[in-house]
Structure formats: structure tokens, C-alpha cells
């Protein structure tokens, strides 16, 4: 095991009996019809999960998957084929299927020499992963969470808690001869609480994790915080009044509400949509798309974060990309294909869900840099508005720019004071417009606790978001109260 951690590339060669010569021949065959580029993506993933309900850990599961994906690119065309049998024969068949995309009439194999190692970051060199922690110990933590959440309030009726951990070993070998490999640990704790009283029932949830060791959950008693947050949210929502409907001033709390940036800005700046001219942000680099208080970055290099990677899924080291600088649109998120076609540099944002998928431009950790106001000043400045601190999911229509994100914990602001909790409501806005309405940015930037999963074109990848407290002067709140 220790050896794999040091040399993940050697893992595949020995585990599946591959040689560098075989990889060279497969890549050469993939390029045979005058393609521009080919790569092989190897993946070996092991995962374990356990969950609690009714105060017992009654479900455990594990899974093992492996496979190889072969990609061939010719101009703007992509051929992709994969197999869950990692053998030379299967890879050759996949290469033949993938190269059908290139219609040059080439006959001869192209010489490829594999061997150049790509440097990578060292963002999550763990002593051990939660997978190595005895199951009994992981189960005990879920039982403790159950106890803490139930003790919080007698109206807590049920507690569901789960812990999932995985380890992915990946290797990318491309037709330029580069080999990049990585071991990617990831884990996540999740707590959901249902509370009920004579008026009704409500749910609350909290969770977190990242590319971290087991001890992460005990620093600052994070696990207890999640149990208490879920319980408190469910209890708070029991007293929630109907949310208002219409356009109003909204203050977003720090951390996970950064999902705003992910939906409103991030997707629209992914290279594929901009190359095709199908994004509401297409052709707008250098233009003002936000107020001067807003600087937004995507950074895949933050140690131990859920959205971070040493290398992306094309073998490019991840980086920090400035998307918006003081309100001006500066950059796109690129994978290799779109970077090449747009004559830009890859930014380390080529990601995929697994070997069964071709990579595309995706976000890593997307957040806004802090400003100068305190949260108290921002809330105190609002006469009438909504203060939203926790969210469920969001979604965006990249072409027309309309995005939504749904508050799961929110309060009214009345005369500068946070008053009554309101029921969950969806907020809707227009990506290129919403940040121009940001009038105050807090000094309290926080990243989310490690819970984000982003879906695009049927592929899910882990991501992070972050935000300081911000004030938005006008966004539509989808409540039921006129």
C-alpha cells in the first residue's frame, strides 16, 4: 500500500500487467488516422460507506471499480471508448473505436514514447485515510452524532447519519509521452435530522469532509458541530413563516452560499461553452460583469479541500484562475481540448466523473475574495430583506444566464436586525447581472465544509465553493407571501 502512495503510476503497470511499450503501441494505434492527440485514463477506485438510522448503524457497503478510458481528439472532435477490463486487448479495441472520430486516411501507427513524468502538487499526502480506520470506530462516531442530535431538543424525531470514504488511484498517459498519476482520497460525513411538533415537521442537515484524515472530524469537534447544526436547523425551521415573494435586498452568509458563484458565474465561464459561443458570458472578457467589490477565483490548489486535485483528470497540474477581478471578467476555465481550440493555456480544470467519461472543463473550488465590511455592518445596513445562510442545490441555464439556488435556512432582516426564520425558497437571477448588484463584501471569507457535488452533462464531480458575507441589492426571492 505504502508503495502505491509514492508511485501510483507503477501501481497500474504492476496491477494489470502493463508495460510502457504496450501503452506506447496503444497510443500509436489510437493516433493512426491523423488524430491530434490521444490519452489513456486508468482508474482504480475503492470505497466504503456506512449509515445510521433508528440509532443503529444498520447499513454498510463497499465497492471496487476499475477501468480504462481511451480518448482520441482530432480538431474539435472527440472519440471516447472505455472498458472495465484493463487488458491490452480491450484497450486496443477501445482505441480502434475511439479513433473512428478521426477521418484522415492514415495507415501507419504513430511512434509515441512514454516516460516523461508530469510534476504534481502535494495537496493531500495523508498518513492514512479514513478507509484504514476500523469500521467499529467509524460506526461509533455515527452513534455519538445520533446521541448529540437527539439530546439537542426533544422535538428531534429521527437522525440519519452517514460516512463515506473512497480512494482513487489514477494515471493519465498521453500521446505527448507524458505520464501523470495521483492517489486521491476523499471522504464525507453527513447528518440529517427530522424534527416535529404539533404544527408539522421539518428537516435540517449538515455535513463536511474533504481529502482529509479521520482526525479532521475531531479537530474543533467538527463532528459535534455537524450534529448540532442539523438539529438546530430542523428545530429553527419548525417556527419558520412563509417566505416573501418578489425582488428584494438579500444578504448571503459566508461559506456554502458561495454556490451562488458556482451557478451564476462559474459554469458560464467553462471553456467549452465559450468556445462554442453558447454561454451568456461568451466574448465578454475584459468587460464589467460585477461590481468593483467582486474578485472571484477558481483554485484547485488549496490543501485537503474536496474540490482540490494535484493533477486534473487529463494530467495537468491544477492552478488558481482569476475569473473576475474587481468586477472585470478575466478568464475561463479550460481543459486541453478547449484551450487548444481557443489558443489559450489549459488551467487544470479538465475533469471527469470516472473512466467511463471523457473530460470537460469543470470547476474546482470557486470563491470570492474578502472585502472590508463586517457581517454586522452588512446586516445593519438593510432595512428590509432576506438573510440566507444555508442552501440546497442550484442550477443554471448557461445560454440565457438564468440561475437558481434554493435556501434551506433563511431569516427576515427588519431594520438591520435578523428576525424571524422563513421557509425555504428559491432565489433566481441572471448570471452576468447579479454580481453588478453586490454593494458590500464582508471580511469573513469562509469555504464550505466540504459537501459540494457538481453535475454537468450527466457527470458528477466533487467541488468546493466559498463566500464572505455579501449584500445583493435586488434578487428575486421565490416565496409564497406577497
Amino acid at each position: 500500500m505504502a508503495n502505491e502512495l509514492i508511485q501510483p503510476d507503477k501501481f497500474f503497470l504492476s496491477r494489470f500487467g502493463m508495460t510502457e511499450g504496450a501503452l506506447e503501441r496503444i497510443l500509436g494505434a489510437a493516433l493512426e488516422r491523423k488524430a491530434d492527440y490521444a490519452d489513456l485514463y486508468f482508474e482504480y477506485r475503492s470505497a466504503e460507506g456506512l449509515s445510521l438510522e433508528d440509532s443503529i448503524v444498520n447499513r454498510t457497503s463497499k465497492s471496487l471499480s476499475h477501468g480504462v478510458g481511451v480518448r482520441v481528439c482530432a480538431e474539435d472532435r472527440t472519440g471516447y471508448a472505455y472498458s472495465d477490463e484493463v487488458t491490452v486487448d480491450r484497450m486496443r479495441l477501445a482505441a480502434e473505436a475511439a479513433r473512428a472520430i478521426a477521418h484522415g486516411g492514415g495507415e501507419a501507427s504513430v511512434a509515441v514514447q512514454v516516460g516523461r513524468q508530469v510534476p504534481r502538487h502535494a495537496l493531500y499526502e495523508l498518513e492514512s485515510t479514513p478507509l484504514e480506520v476500523p469500521l467499529e470506530q467509524r460506526a461509533k462516531l455515527l452513534n455519538e452524532i445520533d446521541r448529540v442530535a437527539r439530546e439537542f431538543d426533544p422535538r428531534v424525531k429521527s437522525v440519519m447519519a452517514s460516512f463515506a470514504a473512497e480512494r482513487k488511484i489514477v494515471m493519465v498517459v498521453n500521446s505527448e509521452g507524458r505520464i501523470a498519476a495521483d492517489v486521491q482520497p476523499l471522504c464525507r460525513l453527513n447528518v440529517t435530522v427530522i424534527a416535529a411538533d404539533d404544527k408539522g415537521r421539518q428537516a435540517g442537515s449538515s455535513g463536511g469532509g474533504g481529502r482529509v484524515e479521520w482526525s479532521f472530524f475531531f479537530e474543533d469537534e467538527r463532528w459535534r458541530e455537524h450534529a448540532l447544526t442539523a438539529a438546530r436547523q430542523a428545530i429553527t425551521n419548525l417556527d419558520a413563516v412563509d417566505a416573501p415573494a418578489g425582488e428584494m435586498v438579500v444578504v448571503l452568509g459566508p461559506g456554502w452560499p458561495g454556490i451562488l458563484l458556482h451557478e451564476a458565474i462559474g459554469h458560464g465561464l467553462e471553456g467549452d461553452f465559450n468556445r462554442k459561443g453558447t454561454s451568456a458570458f461568451s466574448g465578454r472578457i475584459g468587460q464589467r460583469v460585477a461590481s468593483e467589490f467582486c474578485t472571484v477565483v477558481d483554485d484547485g490548489t488549496i490543501p485537503n479541500r474536496r474540490g482540490s486535485l494535484n493533477i486534473d483528470d487529463e494530467g495537468t497540474p491544477t492552478s488558481r484562475t482569476v475569473l473576475i477581478e474587481k468586477g472585470i471578467l478575466r478568464g475561463y476555465l479550460q481543459d486541453r481540448l478547449n484551450a487548444r481550440l481557443m489558443k489559450m493555456a489549459p488551467t487544470g480544470n479538465g475533469r471527469r466523473e470516472s473512466f467511463a467519461h471523457a473530460p470537460m472543463p469543470r470547476m474546482t473550488n470557486t470563491f470570492m475574495l474578502p472585502g472590508g465590511s463586517t457581517a454586522e455592518e452588512i446586516l445593519g445596513s438593510v432595512r428590509n430583506g432576506l438573510y440566507a445562510v444555508s442552501f440546497g442545490g442550484g442550477q443554471v441555464d448557461i445560454t440565457n444566464g438564468r440561475f437558481v439556488f434554493s435556501a434551506s435556512e433563511a431569516y427576515l432582516i427588519e431594520d438591520g436586525k435578523v428576525t424571524r426564520p422563513v421557509k425555504g425558497a428559491t432565489l433566481i437571477g441572471n448570471g452576468p447581472d447579479v454580481l453588478t448588484r453586490v454593494t458590500m463584501v464582508g471580511n469573513d471569507l469562509a469555504l464550505d465544509p466540504g459537501i459540494g457535488t457538481c453535475g454537468k452533462d450527466g457527470q458528477s464531480v466533487p467541488v468546493g465553493v466559498g463566500l464572505p458575507t455579501i449584500r445583493i441589492d435586488g434578487i428575486t426571492v421565490g416565496g409564497t407571501r406577497a
Binding site: 477501468g67 427530522i194 415537521r201 428575486t476
Partner: protein, 454 residues
């Protein structure tokens, strides 16, 4: 190809897996093997954009030691490694807390004969790349040629695939089935005065010849993009909402989620304790039918080897049954309904098979005509449905109705209400039920909801 047709990953392998589990000390076990292959072909702006060929096979087990259980999935089919993997899963079960409700179904409930449901196209198989590309190209060409304002495209994609499911348990049930799916989707973009609007349309069927014609899919997609040009925001108001069939189907999915066993026994559903009571207006009948021949959600047995059935979930507005697997049925003191769904390596979950709302007599035009001022809803975005409370708040777009006519497109608004009240206030039901996925509904009119805009 071998993955789907060969006997190598069939019932014999499943029986062998059950034997391994028994040898490792499991008192009961299940094995599920899913193999699938597909080819997907995409064009954009008339040119080939992507070809993707897939081939996958996974084996899942659930093992019981007393009332303790564990599940596992693997891509490893080499016998020695697989045997060790199953033995490891039995060890995992021993570390899991016993659960009094867990276990295989009552063996008397397993079907003796499996129905023939015509899940596979007998003649077409996987459609080869050149033909698939041509179909996608035809659809996109029709979209691009529909109007000069269709200036760009996210492309068109044609997919064909086949799969095979093998399931066996240690109390003697074993079954298998195979199916095919074909689909075509087109996504043109309309542009006017510097603003872009995407359109999207699709067709999907188990038979290749059951697909809607490619050019007509493209034209519909273009029309859907074009009618959104010039969309505006409207003032916040309360008004009736006409859900088009696709949007109406999304309401059914939300209801099915709340009617499913796991949400109910956890007290996480607004339908808890509502069995036998009125939950929708009296014209509403919702049926779940897994026995429809060629249905996209049909299968001969459910994820625990129980017969698939046809049943009214809601009849004349009254909630008649929940959707249950064995575990949630035992928890609720009810009989399982054959709605266990199964992903390889996971415990059963619950899902409807083919779920639909029974059509009534009104044409969509009649329904729209009945509205003085209101919204014809054609798109929803976001996840603002709370199945614990029924609270509903989602991003919306569509056409504004003035005096019974579609007047202009609207966007950047939300619609909000509560599913309990929304189902109770379904005022008119259309006659236009068309199956495009495993959930279908005709056009529906809801008396009034809050629309938030400016």
C-alpha cells in the same frame, strides 16, 4: 457483444456467488449482475463532434448474517478475487448492527413465471456510428434550418444501448431480462438582439422504429427555442398555472418521492399518515404500471425479485397505496408493492415503474383558453421541492397567457406553493398523455400559485 449476450455473467455466476456467500457464513444472500453496452454519437453545427463507445459489467451482492447485512459492488470477475470479495462482504455484515426489519422477501411472493414485456428491440441492436451520426445530423439540420434566428447549437446526440440484468437470491429465486433503449436529443440556440435562448427536445423508445422522426424532433426543439426570444420578467402576482406535459410529469415524480416507503417510515414525507385520505382533487387518478409492454420503466420483477404490478397510487383524488420495498413495508406494517429499485452494490431503494396521470377530456388549447391571466409553464430549474413539508419553490419560464391566448415569453420568475395544496387545486386535466420517459402526464391546470418576479 459478449458482455450482454454470453452466459458467462449469467445466472450460473450468480448462483456461484450465492454459494460463496453461504460458504463464508451468510445465512441469506442476493447477487445482481448488470451488463451494458452503448454507442453515443454527437454532431454540432453539422460536423461530427463526438463518438462514445461504452461497455460495462458489474456484480453486486447483499449478504445477511442473522439480521445484520452488508452490500458490495465490484468490477472484478476473476473467480478467486471475486470469492474473496464476497467473503469480505460477509465479514462486513458481521460488523454491522442487527436490524429487526431486514431480510429477504417472503419466499411465497416470488413469481413462478416472468411476463414477456418486450423490453428489447428484436431487430435493431446497437446502431452503428455512421447511421447514428446521420440521424443526429438530420435532426440538427432541421433545427438549424427552421428559422434564420437559429444561429447556434449545442448539437444533437443519438444514443443506442442494450443491457442485461441477472438477479438471484439464496431462497431459490433467479431471473434475468434484457432490454434496449434508443434516444435522440437536439439542442439548438435561437438569438435575437444579442440575447440567446436554448431549446431542447428529445425522443426516447425501447424500439428503434418507435422513435419520433429525427427532423420533427429538430423542428420542435427549434420552436421551443424561438418562442423564448424576447422573454421578460413580470411583476410578482398570484395567478393560475398551466403545466405542460413535461412539467406536469415533474409533479408526479415529486409525489412519488413523498409516497415512497423510506421517506414515510422516517417521517420525512408530507404524505405520512395520509393513506386512504384525499390528497388531490377528485379528477386525479395516478397509476403506476410496471407491466406496460415496451414501457421505459417496465421490468418483469423488481429489485428484490417480487412481481411488478399495475396499481392506482391515487384514485379519484384518494391516496390508495404507498410505493414500498420489503424493508419499508415491514417498517410500516404493510405489504411490499413490487417497487424495489436496485443499483448494483446498494440496498434496495424505491421507485415507481411507469407512472402516469390518467388523461381527461380537455385539449391543451381549451385549458389555456380557460385562463384570463396566467402562466403556461414550459421549464423549471432548480431543486426547490421539500418532500418533508411539501413546500415548493422553483425557477420557471414559459409563456404568459392573456385572455386565453399565449401572449409573450416570460423568464427569471419563480413559482411557489405547497404540493399538498397544488394537487388539491388541479382544476383541469388534458387529453394529451404521451409517453416520453417512464413518467408521463397530460397538461394540467393548477388554480393559483404565487409567481415571484419584479
Amino acid at each position: 457483444m459478449a458482455s450482454v449476450e454470453a452466459g458467462e455473467a449469467g445466472v450460473d455466476l450468480a448462483q456461484w456467488g450465492l454459494e460463496q456467500a453461504r460458504a463464508a457464513g451468510a445465512g441469506a444472500a442476493e447477487v445482481l449482475i448488470v451488463s451494458a453496452e452503448s454507442l453515443s454519437a454527437g454532431v454540432r453545427m453539422g460536423e461530427v463532434e463526438k463518438l462514445k463507445s461504452s461497455r460495462e459489467r458489474r456484480l453486486g451482492v447483499r449478504v445477511f448474517v442473522g439480521q445484520s447485512s452488508a452490500t458490495a459492488a465490484t468490477a472484478e470477475f476473476e473467480r478467486k478475487a471475486l470469492g474473496e470479495f464476497i467473503a469480505d462482504t460477509v465479514r462486513l455484515a458481521r460488523l454491522t448492527a442487527p436490524d429487526q426489519w431486514s431480510g429477504l422477501p417472503d419466499p411465497a411472493l416470488h413469481p413462478r413465471h416472468l411476463p414477456e414485456l418486450e423490453l428489447s428491440d428484436p431487430s435493431s441492436g446497437i446502431i452503428e456510428a455512421d447511421r447514428a451520426l446521420e440521424i443526429a445530423r438530420t435532426a440538427e439540420r432541421a433545427a438549424l434550418g427552421a428559422d434564420r434566428r437559429i444561429k447556434n447549437s449545442e448539437g444533437a446526440e443519438f444514443d443506442s444501448g442494450r443491457y442485461r440484468v441477472v438477479f438471484a437470491n439464496s431462497q431459490g429465486f433467479a431471473g434475468e431480462y434484457a432490454g434496449t433503449t434508443y434516444s435522440l436529443a437536439v439542442a439548438p440556440i435561437a438569438e435575437e438582439d444579442g440575447a440567446m435562448q436554448p431549446g431542447h427536445w428529445y425522443t426516447q423508445n425501447r424500439r428503434f422504429d418507435g422513435l419520433e422522426e429525427a427532423a420533427s424532433v429538430g423542428l420542435t426543439a427549434a420552436k421551443r427555442a424561438l418562442r423564448k426570444l424576447g422573454a421578460r420578467k413580470i411583476k410578482t402576482t398570484r395567478a393560475p398555472i398551466v403545466f405542460d406535459p413535461e412539467m406536469a410529469a415533474s409533479l408526479l415524480r415529486a409525489l412519488a418521492g413523498a409516497a415512497s416507503g423510506p421517506s414515510l417510515y422516517r417521517g420525512a414525507s408530507f404524505l405520512a399518515g395520509r393513506l386512504g385520505s384525499e390528497i388531490a382533487s377528485s379528477g386525479v387518478t395516478i397509476i403506476d404500471d410496471g407491466t406496460i409492454r415496451g414501457g421505459l420503466g417496465s421490468k418483469p420483477f423488481d429489485g428484490e425479485g417480487l412481481p411488478i404490478t399495475r396499481k392506482s397510487v391515487v384514485e379519484g383524488g384518494v391516496l390508495k397505496t404507498y410505493l414500498l420495498d420489503c424493508y419499508s413495508a415491514r417498517r410500516l406494517g404493510l405489504a411490499p408493492t413490487g417497487n424495489a429499485a436496485r443499483a448494483v452494490g446498494e440496498a434496495p431503494s424505491v421507485s415507481p415503474a411507469n407512472l402516469y396521470l390518467q388523461p381527461d377530456r380537455y385539449s391543451p388549447a381549451e385549458i389555456i383558453r380557460s385562463v384570463k391571466h396566467g402562466l403556461y409553464l414550459t421549464e423549471l430549474i432548480g431543486f426547490g421541492v421539500n418532500s418533508v413539508t411539501g413546500d415548493y419553490s422553483r425557477g420557471a419560464s414559459g409563456m404568459w397567457i392573456e385572455d386565453g391566448e399565449l401572449a409573450y415569453p416570460v423568464q427569471e420568475i419563480t413559482i411557489a406553493g405547497n404540493l399538498k395544496e397544488m394537487f388539491m387545486s388541479i382544476e383541469m386535466i388534458g387529453n394529451d398523455l404521451v409517453w416520453r420517459s417512464s413518467t408521463a402526464a397530460p397538461t394540467l391546470k393548477i388554480a393559483e400559485m404565487m409567481i415571484a418576479g419584479e
